[in-house]
Every structure is written in C-alpha cells, then in structure tokens.
C-alpha cells in the first residue's frame, strides 16, 4: 500500500474508518479539531454518520446510546473535554459497552493551554470517573503507530466490551509523517446479542444499564470487570525496549516525548554512558513485565514525562524498590530538549554513585 503524508489527527480518522468505525459524536476543542472535521467530511462517504453534539457530555452519551445499540462508535476530545466525558465513560464501563475514545491532550489544570502535555496520565490510567474501572489505554509515539493501534482499537473494544482510549498530544495530532494503512487482521469477535436493537418479538428485552441497587449484584459486576482486567494484563500489554540490554540507566517515557528521550539515549551512548529506554505502548495495563527483563548492570530508572510526575508512580510500583527511580519533566506545554534529559540522566547517575559509595 502507498505511503501518504498525513497529520496525526487525520491519520487516526482514516485508520478508524478502516477499523470499522460507523459513528462519530464529538465537540470542537483544540488541538483535536482535525478529527471531527475529517470525520464530518469522510465518515458519511464511508457509510457512517458524523454528528457534532451540543457538548462533550452529550457526545459521550450519544456514544453510550449508539454503542448500546450495537454500533462501532468513537468520540475524540482534548483534556478538559475528556474531563467532561468522564460521566459517560464511567457509565459505558459499568454497562460494559465497546467504544473508542481519542484524547489529544493539552496542558492543565483547568482550561490550561493547548500545547503538548502528558498531564492526563492519571485521568487515563486510573479510570477517570467514578467507580472501580479501567480503560485499555494506548499511547502511540508516531503517526504510523497511531494508525496501527487505531485500526485494532474497535476490535479490541468489541472483544473486551470496554472503551479503548488512544492518548496522544498536540504534537502527535498536529504533526505530519508518512503512514501506510495496513489491512485489519480479521478476528473472531463475539456476537453482540446484548445490544438494544429491538426484540422483534423474538426474545426477551435487552437492557443496557449500569445501575445495580443490590450490593451483591453490583459486587458481581465488579468482580467480572476485574476478571476482564486480569485478561487484559495477561494478553494486551505492549511496550518497546530500546538499548536496555547492558544499560546502567533506563529511562521510561511514552508517546511523542519518548522520541526526544530516545535521541537523548543516543547522545549518552555516544558519550560513553550506557542508557536505555522502556517505552510503554499500553499505559494501562502498565507494562510491568518490561522491568523484569532489565539487566544486572542497571543502577537507576528515570521517568521522563511532560508533567510533574504521574507515570513515575507506576514505574516505582514496577521497580519494586530494586532500583532508585529519578524523574525529569516539563509541563504547561514546555517540551524538554534532549540535552536537558542527558543532563538529568547524568546527574542521577552521579547521585546514585555517590550514595552507593562507588
């Protein structure tokens, strides 16, 4: 297939349509506007329906309705808009419905800014709304990966009957890179016999619902959700390791900013420092396995984020106290340079040497 040069936001849309997206409900917010714009133009041509809702709250509830009716449906927004969608996302998880949610995130809190940020890590990986639930969260680092993940996202949502979130930032959304759209691998997916499509007088009514007034029944739902999450942890964790085999310092970074960290690794290697990188592709489930494969040469980990430290909590959990965990981050839309990371990494290694008396 042909390579095309595309903006990340638009590549996500083209991939979504290839992934079987039939419905899109959204609301304008920067820096994701190319997504509803593209869908308003192209989804109808592909036989689907685009609708601009009156708010993010309405949009996610339309997603809830269409997903309950058995459709392949998605929405997109950016950080403050995703905050508004949390109500619907929680209901969708409670009712166990599939859908795809794109967050082209921006800096916060509040209205924040519109430049690249990773300050929504907690929101994305800790459920985000009320209740004991998670989303399958992908954090692509480049446009090809974003398209590849998006093509799969609808199948995974259907397979697990839960929302899949693609978490990017303005950099991923706005930049252009070559992308090749691959064919979707066919999967065996369960029938949607739970969908509210009308009984046609042939079956008992289907009910899409997250209300369980009986505590035992609600606990059963939660236990079932946890079993599903255990399956995700076993089957869907994805990550990339880069030059970790002999590393003394391993950075942990995700999304577009991990590319800057990768450049920093190259600079450090050129300076004779053995650096490496773990790049989570699924933020939830977090790739704890990656930390089990780290070499004996490792002296420290460093979480590098466009925030003041959110993923670092997961890095510490995965490290289980075996290595010191440092941090470097910028926020508000400020993007670190590879030199800043090199310096932070060198500083951490010096501190570790000092403490251990080497």
């Amino acid at each position: 297939m042909d390579k095309v040069l595309m903006k990340g936001n638009e590549a996500l849309c083209a991939a979504a349509i290839r992934g079987g997206c039939q419905f899109f409900f959204g609301y304008p917010i920067t820096p994701q506007n190319e997504i509803p714009e593209y869908m308003s133009r192209e989804l109808g041509r592909a036989g689907g329906t685009f609708l601009q809702a009156e708010s993010e709250v309405a949009a996610i509830n339309m997603v809830y309705g269409a997903a309950g009716a058995g459709a392949r449906v998605m929405t997109s927004s950016s950080s403050p808009g995703i905050a508004l969608k949390q109500e619907g996302i929680s209901y969708i998880c409670g009712a166990e419905l599939p859908c795809v949610i794109v967050n082209i995130s921006r800096g916060g809190p509040g209205l924040g800014g519109i430049q690249p940020s990773q300050a929504d890590y907690f929101q994305a990986t800790r459920g985000g709304g009320n209740g004991d639930y998670y989303l399958l969260v992908f954090a692509p680092a480049n446009i090809q990966e974003a398209a590849d993940l998006m093509i799969e996202a609808f199948d995974l949502a259907d397979l697990y009957r839960m929302p899949v979130m693609i978490l990017g930032d303005g950099m991923l959304g706005q930049m252009m890179e070559p992308v090749v759209f691959k064919e979707r691998k066919p999967r065996d997916l369960p029938q949607k016999d739970w969908a509210t499509t009308g009984t046609a007088g042939k079956r008992k009514p289907n009910i899409i619902n997250s209300l369980r007034l009986d505590p035992a029944e609600l606990e059963n739902l939660n236990i079932r959700l946890q079993e599903k999450y255990a399956q995700l942890k076993a089957n869907e964790v994805r990550y990339e390791t880069h030059q970790t085999e002999d590393a003394e310092l391993v950075f942990v970074a995700y999304g577009t900013s991990s590319r800057i960290v990768k450049n920093a690794v190259a600079v450090m290697r050129a300076n004779g420092l053995k650096a490496g990188l773990i790049r989570p592709i699924t933020l939830w489930p977090f790739p704890e396995q990656a930390f089990e494969e780290l070499p004996d040469s490792l002296r420290a980990l460093m979480s590098v984020e466009l925030s003041h430290g959110q993923m670092i909590d997961d890095v510490k959990i995965a490290a289980r106290g075996r290595w010191p965990v440092g941090f470097y981050g910028r926020s508000g839309g400020m993007i670190f340079t590879q030199q800043e990371i090199v310096e932070a990494g060198e500083k951490l290694l010096r501190e570790v040497s000092h403490v251990s008396g080497v």
Binding site: Q115, N263, T337
Partner: protein, 185 residues
Amino acid sequence: MNEKVICAGFGGQGVMSLGRLISYTGMRVGMEVSWLPSYGPEMRGGTANCHVIVSDTLVGSPVISHDATAVLALNYPSMVKFEHELIEGGYMFYNSSLIEEAPGRKGITAIAVPSNEIASEVGDLRVANMVMLGAYIAVCRPFTLEDVVEALREVFGPGKEKFIPLNETAIKRGIEVAEKAAVGS
C-alpha cells in the same frame, strides 16, 4: 543525510506549505520525514513556524532544538528567534527583501535571498516561499529541482497544474541567487 530545517515567517507567507513541500518531496524520494507545525493562535496571523526533518534513517524526535541544519526565515522576528537553533556551520537563509541586517550569530553561513523582490518579478508575491526553497535546495541539496516539481505536480493535482510553471520559475530563481551567493562568499 539528516536535514533539520525550521521554516518561519509571518502567517500568510506560506511557511507551513513550504515545510510541507520539503517533507512531501523527501518522502517521495524515499527519505524518512516529519513535519511539526507550531499551532494555536499563530494560525490566525502573527508568526508561524514548522520543524521539518528529512533523514535517511527513521526520524527520532520531530522537535528541532539547537540542532537545526538550516533555517528559512521569511521575516526578521523569525531570523532572530531561530538563529540560535542552528548548529555550528548551519545555514541561515533570510529574506533580504524584508530583513536589512545579516544575522548576528557567528559560526553559521548566512545566505541573503531577496524572496519578495524575486517573487514580484516573476509575477506573484505568494511564491516568495518557493524562492526560498530554491535557495535551500541549491545549497543543502536534499533533493533536486526535478524532485520538487514532481512533488508539486502531485500536490497541486490536475486542477491547479497551471500554477506549476510560476512555482518552478520561482524555485529556479532562488537556486540562481543562492549559487551566486555561494560563489561570492
């Protein structure tokens, strides 16, 4: 090759499409590319810029920070803002129609390109960005004039094919200017 180019100027000077054309041509000739725009209020006037990487290996970070190999500055604020992003020995192509003084940064090669004047001479001020592109490919040689024209043909499509000669002329004039400047330096 690892070209890291910042294109910058006023909104409306065509710096975004200039950058896109460099990435698109790079992709067509088999290079790895990325194009990262500034976005936000700049879109509605003011200054605009984009970071373009054309490389024979996979692009790492799409952000150019203190490692630009070339800056194409269409206005004065852009030249001042981005001259310090250049590596030692990098190239500053500046629009001498609008910028009276040469860049202050030492250790770089400055190339004056009277983009607006030449664009007006060839018949349309809007191709000032193409004059700049000509100067850039003459000096840095990421690809040839023919590569660019073929890319333009695809970008324009049959509907806008009639604009190709104008753009091609502008690029050629940019090449000439840069070649003369190189001889003179």
